[in-house]
Symmetry: C2
Subunit: 374 residues, 2 copies
């Protein structure tokens, strides 16, 4: 068996996004001990950088040592107890995964369903919260990776607060690509992933808990069912020097990568990054329209970083994706769930959001579909 | 804020162990998509390499996408259901963590306690299994990282089998350093970590389930409480092409690193790696004795890869460790739990197990303790 030599692929799917050489090189620096004071100093910087990116002052802001799915699970198992009621918004695949998490805790999910490709309906959420007084949490996906839809996180967090519920916000695909104002919106639990608009390799899940969420965590009547994801223990591990308690061995080199990726975001500035994602999305939209392709999502709710493109009638979508990958070295994503076979997903995330990427994928699609720009 | 530049440290603590430039470079290769067919091919190779290292033909042999603590949790939450009884052997810190896992599942732990620094007592285990007929699983730590003790995994697996219980084996520190004969011993659930004798960065947990364990998983009456660690879903993600189901986004670059680290082990050969760990342990033992230091563990149960060294009376152990790190660039570990302050832990794991490392740490200790080799 030989060393694995990955091909050079332009990653324009739903994640991972392209990881820059700068981030890869940071990750390849020498491994040091996770209790080394210099590493602890890096952890402190990392928390500060995450607070910047998530626009929060929350003390409990850490990267969970596992992918975004574990970040989701951490949010639920720490805040929800058996017997609790959670209103879960589902307008894509990831709302369904939230439901799974609630059920496995022994809590009751109240589903608010909206069609894949549309945002969460605020009135339906309000009605569900009214119909279930004492609801522990309202959970929703800010940027649905499976459909390319943005929901109104600010309004949803306000609804939760108005009904005395905690808000759990899936920001896996939003962080770094569109505004995510954790504190200004009063979001209580926010989790994300390293491999979307931050353009670090997959494997880490930034997570932030508001003070109110920490109070709820401390007031639990039952232990958190997961030892690995128990934030009262994770907090002890990530807190300042001195009392720092060993919990697990942090994924040292992955944290180097996330640190570097967040530095890059800080250097660019959040507003500049959001503007860049928006501009390249508009360039993609124009390019797609020039070859007769349409976006699935209504303009108002379109995510710039994740573009759901309708597959034209009679086109074998899988064959096109395969050809893009093998002939053009470009990865795009397929539809998931009820959108399987109906859409392609073109991600313009983080380092992947640039005019060259847009032009390459539009040109390649034009060739594969044998269409000429109008 | 600037890029993080880790210092060059010789990692001779309880893990992470030194990661070679070859492995770091493999990790820094371009990130590709986790559904890319070339990546799926790499995953197949990785499973094969893990089977080699764990000495098994188990179909369900995968790296869990999180550190060893998550591997432990995966073993427990998949095999143990609420109401089950689990005999847990504790002769160090990690047996206590196993107990935590059992309790959080809502199952009953029956503890078999042995002094820190001694191996698990087979007769006590036999008695506990006899006293609790219908015990679902026997759980023990093969190589106790907190004390440097090897327990008799073969005999313990046999005891479990004789009593109709599944065996859950913590092989975090044993894999790659001492023989771990998963199939020959009939171990049912074995988990490990990437950052010990495999010398990959921390963040992954190799795990293998026997056919009997898979049958138990499939026969569960209750869902696995963790969605992220549910092996019936993880299996779907790691199985061969075609039916491969999306579960979570694999930590792509970390998997490159593990692949490369396992290749290095395969090139050396298991027996050669075990012999090397043993030889360097003996060299360390001789060196320590030459400066008047003693090992904690009786010869019969000593782990070659994790050496618990008694702190001489009147010596400030933390000050010595600090000086080793700051002046000599060498990291060693402190005692944990009831051994805190009483021992140092010198790891000679994977790439760290070589004569140069041994000589450097002995010489540095001699200077710090102001002792001359006898």
């Amino acid at each position: 068996m030989a060393s694995f030599q990955p091909p050079d692929v332009l990653l324009l799917g739903p994640g991972p996004s392209p990881v820059s050489r700068r981030v890869l090189n940071a990750m390849a620096r020498p491994t040091i001990g996770h209790l080394d004071p210099r590493f602890v100093g890096m952890m402190d910087e990392l928390k500060e950088l995450l607070r910047f990116a998530m626009q929060t002052r929350n003390a409990l802001t850490v990267p969970i040592s596992a992918p975004g799915s574990a970040g989701m699970e951490a949010a639920f198992v720490n805040l929800v107890e058996p017997g609790d009621t959670v209103v879960v918004c589902q307008n894509g695949v990831f709302g369904g995964r939230m439901r799974e998490n609630v059920v496995r805790i022994g809590a009751t999910p109240v589903m608010v369903n909206d069609a894949f490709g549309t945002p969460v309906d605020l009135e339906k959420v309000d009605a569900a919260l009214k119909a279930h007084p004492g609801t522990k949490a309202l959970a929703f996906v800010h940027a649905e990776t499976s459909t390319g839809v943005e929901s109104d996180a600010q309004a949803l967090c306000r609804l939760a607060r108005d009904h005395g519920a905690l808000s759990i916000v899936d920001a896996v695909t939003s962080l770094g690509g569109i505004p995510l104002r954790t504190d200004a919106w009063g979001a209580d639990a926010v989790y994300s992933g390293s491999q979307k608009c931050l353009s670090a390799p997959p494997g880490l899940s930034p997570l932030s808990f508001s003070e109110k969420a920490v109070v709820a965590l401390k007031a639990r009547k039952t232990p958190v069912q997961s030892w690995f994801l128990d934030l009262s223990l994770v907090m002890g591990y990530w807190q300042g020097s001195g009392a720092r308690a060993y919990h697990h061995t942090a994924p040292i080199n992955m944290l180097y990568a996330l640190h570097e990726a967040l530095l890059i975001l800080q250097e660019e500035g959040l507003d500049a990054a959001f503007a860049r994602h928006r501009e390249n999305h508009l360039r993609l939209k124009a390019g797609l329209e020039s070859i007769g392709l349409e976006l699935l999502v209504a303009e108002k709710s379109r995510l710039p970083q994740l573009n759901a493109v309708k597959v034209p009638d009679g086109v074998d979508e899988a064959a096109i994706r395969k050809r893009l990958l093998s002939e053009f070295g470009i990865e795009i994503g397929a539809g998931l769930g009820e959108l399987a076979g109906k859409i392609w997903r073109i991600g313009l995330m983080g380092a992947g959001s640039n005019p060259q990427s847009v032009d390459r994928v539009v040109e390649a699609l034009a060739v594969c579909l044998a269409r000429k720009a109008a």
